[in-house]
Amino acid sequence: MSTEKPVSTEKLTPTPGQTVGPFFGYALPFEKGGELVPAGSPNSIKLHGTVFDGNGAPIPDALVEIWQADSNGNIPNETGSLVRDGYTFTGWGRTPVGNTGKYVFSTVNPGPTEPGKAPFFAVAVFARGLMNRLFTRVYLPEDTEALENDALLSSLEPARRKTLIAERLADGSLHWDIRLQGEDETVFLDFHAEG
């Protein structure tokens, strides 16, 4: 194990993931974890939905994280997500689902990070029974031209593509369900060719 290669070119093998298990509830969730901006504040929106299993049953012990640009498309670099001061936008949130599998975030619409780019939330999903975390994205539905030009979306068949696009409800909120398995299974992403 002591080959003398310079550290910068050595590729280390990653540590495997494991399930978050059933007992994260008193450890990972934190106060206002889902409130990237205070609920009901001006320009705030709700991002909400349900996490489902392969039978279409809601999963009551999942955890959802989002990470996003601010409404101007800037990528935040502010600490303070775990102890929110009420006005700094950190761009990251975490919330456990409720007993009926529902999650809700209070946040802002992410802006395009470059002109013409389709804005999306990066998402990580964890659950008991889910052996490793899953990455996905949820896109805003409005800029249809940007959505059509998006590299990831255009690499997907239409039926699968729509699992990554939120629905804008009349109250301005974004509705997006996560299906871990089944017919309308959400597209989950592999960034590292982990297989």
Binding site: P16, L28, N77, G129, L180
Partner: protein, 272 residues
């Protein structure tokens, strides 16, 4: 694979049945390796011996994506988020918790061996009797009023973390009849980009429950699963005080091209 597996969480099958399934999958993996398939370094999400995984894993293969914009960065954490004392799980409730006191230390590295500095590490665990504070934990083992089993810290400039805690006990669960989890500590980690995010579990060397545990065995590659086992280090053990364990974590990636001036997670390349 035997007959199709019924429901999750039924606790209907005994250890012999689950162990046989584990062995069958392992044999299949060995044969695939012998036939030239690459090593699997991550757990299988489709792993029927872990009953609750049956309806909770994607059946379509993960879609390869090149990370973009926000995915190439990580949320920032610091001392606004985490108090220094949160890394000491033995002083949180006005008295000494029961059990074997232990120091746990290691480094968070990326796939190039570069330290992941200034990032959040979260842990949670059962107490020394194998009981979680969680209200759904029905195991009739005692709670410890002086222990909640939750800790956090921010990694140092060299990627290092350190916790003072109590060695957790093994605990029963309902995957099958007489199912017991090997003692473990849950870890949640961030890298310098969101694609490196990981949640995992750390185990203790020589645990007799390893071959019986479908969660540990869901990593079908022996070398890979051993990456989750801490090393006992007597040099880290303090006389009259605490046993020492060491465990380093390697994150995948990063995918972002690095320049020297962002080595500590600062932003500042062409992604803006």
């Amino acid at each position: 694979m035997g007959e199709p597996v019924k429901s999750s969480d039924a606790a209907a099958d005994n250890q012999a049945i689950v162990s046989q399934e584990i062995r069958d999958i392992e044999e299949g993996y060995r044969a695939a390796r012998a036939a030239g398939q690459p090593a699997e370094v991550q757990p299988r999400v489709d792993y029927p011996p872990y009953r609750s995984s049956i309806l909770r894993h994607p059946t379509k293969s993960l879609h390869h994506a090149d990370p973009e914009t926000i995915e190439l960065y990580s949320p920032a954490f610091g001392h606004q988020d985490v108090h220094a004392l949160e890394s000491n799980l033995t002083i949180q409730h006005g008295g000494e918790p029961l059990g074997e006191r232990m120091v746990l230390r290691g480094k968070v590295l990326d796939g190039n061996g570069r330290p992941v500095a200034g990032q959040l590490v979260e842990i949670w665990q059962a107490n020394s009797a194998g009981r979680y504070i969680h209200k759904r934990d029905q195991h009739p083992a005692p709670l410890d009023p002086h222990f909640t089993g939750v800790g956090r810290c921010i990694t140092g400039p060299d990627g290092s973390y350190e916790f003072l805690t109590i060695k957790p006990g093994a605990y029963p669960w309902k995957n099958h009849l007489n199912a017991w989890r090997p003692a473990h500590i849950h870890f949640s980690l961030f890298g310098t980009e969101f694609t490196q995010r990981i949640v995992t579990q750390m185990y203790f060397p020589g645990d007799q429950l390893f071959p019986l545990d479908p969660i540990y065995q869901s990593i079908v590659d022996q070398d890979a699963r051993e990456r989750l086992v801490a090393r006992y280090n007597h040099d880290l053990t303090s006389p009259e005080w605490a046993l020492g364990y060491e465990w380093d974590i390697v994150l995948t990636g990063p995918k972002r091209t690095w320049t020297e001036n962002e080595a500590y997670g600062e932003q500042g390349d062409d992604e803006h």
